[in-house]
Every structure is written in structure tokens, then in C-alpha cells.
């Protein structure tokens, strides 16, 4: 199972878990992102996400290829949300199942780290007094 989606609706942790569940799995690791309420002490009101969707799906597919090849995972589910999110909402969920837990931890960590580096998704922090595109400037 390779379940890669970009969604405009609230994400569901259980559905990502269920997508990777397998009798052969010894462990499932689920990473759940969260919208934090501040950046460097400045109060964040909302986060706005946008994506170049076809390329984002393709880049996440490359991450999936690596997980299957390098860590021999059983299943992968990546759901990423776009649109305007409130504090505490979930922007991303990554679930990985493997026969043994160590590989699941490593593969999941690789997936979220690489997603943040290569997948064309952008977030804008909306403060009470302005907005900032995250990571845009040095």
C-alpha cells in the first residue's frame, strides 16, 4: 500500500494508521505534525499552506521509493493538508509499517525530513500583525 494524498480537508490519524496496518508488521510509526502557536516568541494565528500538487505527489513518490528500497517497509501513508489551518490542526501525517520497529522509526524520520527539503509545499505564517513565508529568507 502506497497511500499518498494532498487534501483540503482535516487529516485523520486513524485512516493513515489503518492504511499501513499489516499482519506482517512488527511496528507502525505515525508522525503527526502540528500547527504551533508561536515562532520565536511571536504569536501565530493561522498557517496557510499551498502546493504545486502534481509535483508534490511525484516528489513524495520518490520518498516512497527510497523507503521501500532502503528500509524494506511494508506500507506507507503520507497525507498533507493544504489551505488555512488553525493552531493545533494537523498539516501532515506520515505512517510507516515495517516487520521490525527500528526500520519504521528510521524510515519515518527520513520521510518527514526529506519532505521538508524537497516537496513543493509552502507555508505562510499568519501573525496578528503580518505574514511571513516560512524559510523563504536566510
Amino acid at each position: 500500500m502506497r497511500d499518498i494524498q494532498i487534501l483540503e480537508t482535516p487529516l485523520n490519524t486513524q485512516s493513515c494508521h489503518d492504511a499501513v496496518a499489516d499482519p506482517a508488521a512488527g511496528g507502525i510509526v505515525v508522525f503527526v505534525g502540528a500547527v504551533r502557536n508561536q515562532t520565536k516568541g511571536r504569536k501565530v494565528v493561522q498557517l496557510a499552506f499551498e502546493s504545486y500538487v502534481p509535483m508534490a505527489l511525484k516528489e513524495m513518490g520518490k520518498i516512497a521509493d527510497t523507503l521501500y528500497q532502503k528500509w524494506g517497509i511494508l506500507h506507507l501513508s503520507i497525507h498533507h493538508r493544504v489551505g488555512v489551518l488553525e493552531i493545533g490542526e494537523i498539516p501532515v501525517i506520515i505512517a510507516v509499517s515495517t516487520p521490525h520497529r527500528q526500520a519504521a522509526f528510521e524510515a519515518c524520520q527520513y520521510a518527514i525530513d526529506t519532505l521538508k527539503e524537497t516537496v513543493p509545499i509552502w507555508k505562510k505564517e499568519i501573525f496578528e500583525d503580518g505574514t511571513v513565508w516560512v524559510s523563504a529568507h536566510p
Binding site: 502534481p54 498533507h80 501532515v92 513543493p120 509552502w122 507555508k123 524559510s135
Partner: protein, 80 residues
Amino acid sequence: MKIKLIAFGIAKEIIAASESDLEVENPCDIGNLKRILMTQYHEFKKLQSIKFAINEDYQEDHFPLHEGDEVVIIPPVSGG
């Protein structure tokens, strides 16, 4: 020759459009385009990085452009 620029995130704000046609000399590669954009829009120079995609894949500076290409400007990504 004419190419089409497609912009997301802060790049969309910098060129003030999500799509824009641009006339460039032939031949032109991604590196040339990057220099043209940085000259035309100084805000691009201030970014952490700027990448380009054609056909949904990142392309390097030496990648040649052709008439009618759709070039996507990829400012620093920040998903997750």
C-alpha cells in the same frame, strides 16, 4: 522565444502573478533565466534559494529551455 512562468508561494508575490509569459533570447537555459529574474525582480536575490521545475521535476542551471516551456519557480519549500 516565449516561455511561461508559473509561480508559487513567495515567488507568486514577487512577480505579482501566478502565471506570466516571458520573452527570452534563444538559446536560454535555467541559469540564464535565473539571472534574468534576479535582475528584473531584486526580491529573488534575497531568498534562501530559488529552484526551477519543468515537467514536475527539478532541473539544474544547464537545462536548456524551449519555446513554449512551462517553467515553475520553486522558492524555498516549507511543508510539514
